[in-house]
Subunit: 225 residues, 2 copies
């Protein structure tokens, strides 16, 4: 399947405020999805929305999530439920001269659609491979593969990227060309970065087993040294 | 009002899997809410769940969020809607010997309840003060206060912490005492930390205005040096 480079905004995903921050191109959407290690999955059960943090991974035009929390809702209702998957990377805080203009720098993606329970074992395996490789490239070949029993015990959901949008805010405050700029108040922004510390071996680990090359040091999109 | 030290699990918030990770005490809940700079607010509009990243701040037994995205739903439906607020702090990746046991270290809080639109100007001001002081202690006294017009343009929602739970996972993989421990696979965890870089002054800033003491360096719960 050809990789789509754009995802059209629907009336539901069109960002209604702060238009200058909205992005509907797949390059922006994919880069946020791929850099984020945690997604927040929203679904509804008996009228109550739930938002659950979960690992996600994109494969082409689909995004997969661990679906344990949503799976009882899925079992109760159907094999597919309306869902929203949101990934947010926090990039900094923005300090304006006025309280009103204070903000955050971030990159976020909102995916609206239907979460389908993945039943096919080969699709489940592909999703597990994507999760594992996302955590550490090369890890799928190193770690013990799932048994059939483990595979059955794993609940995975799939959402399409058909209805997705990205929102990006960066840089400093936007009051530098307003009357507030005359105020005697420091203004600017503070970048926030995520950094990996040294790997901590399991206390039961045979000290003869070397640290995987991908951990020395651990680098991935979204992390800085 | 006395500060409650516990929040009882309801049937909806009781964590059903991995019980050892669940915490219902307010100390755990508050520390995650207070350390997190981003919340994910879930609500439902026309059957579709939405999950929107937003700044939040706790005041006692309530948590406040910027409600711009949810406000059109609120206006359409009522002054209160079922909502879920989730805050997640990612603390690391967990590399087990088996694919199945791979995990993440994290602290998360899920608050279920009803999001109420805040109409009272003094309550709005208190929430804005909490947002601002959360970004940078002392900032409320430095920055220009909101005008009445700005206050009217600010949409704020309130959720009670009556139905809240925390979930915490830390440490290494849990397969050190299983047959997998004999595998020749490195196992352990990689801590992830959030760090603030040096403040970046707004390009329009008068260089004579000093950097606030709270930014030199910027320190808050959830950040490391």
């Amino acid at each position: 399947m050809a990789r789509r480079t754009h995802s059209s905004p629907s009336p539901r995903t069109r960002v209604r405020r702060l238009h200058e921050r909205a992005r509907y191109d797949r390059e922006a959407i994919d880069s946020v999805l791929d850099a984020g290690l945690v997604a927040h999955l929203g679904f509804v059960s008996e009228g109550q929305p739930f938002v659950i943090p979960t690992l996600h991974a994109r494969i082409g035009d689909e995004v997969y999530v661990h679906g344990s929390a949503a799976s009882r809702t899925l079992r109760a209702l159907a094999s597919a439920i309306p869902a929203c998957l949101t990934v947010t990377l926090l990039d900094g805080i923005v300090l304006a001269r006025s309280v009103f203009e204070h903000s955050m720098n971030y990159r976020s993606v909102v995916v609206l659609g239907t979460a389908h329970a993945v039943e096919d074992p080969s699709e489940k395996l592909a999703a597990l491979e994507a999760f594992t490789e996302k955590l550490l490239p090369g890890r799928w070949a190193e770690a013990r593969p799932p048994t059939r029993k483990e595979l059955r015990a794993t609940s995975i959901l799939r959402l399409s990227l058909d209805e997705a949008s990205a929102k990006i805010r960066d840089g400093g405050p936007e009051d530098g060309d307003t009357p507030d700029a005359m105020l005697d108040v420091w203004a600017g922004h503070v970048p926030l970065v995520v950094r990996a510390l040294d790997p901590v071996p399991d206390e039961m680990l045979d000290p003869g087993i070397p640290v995987p090359p991908g951990l020395a040091p651990y680098r991935r999109p979204g992390l800085v040294d």
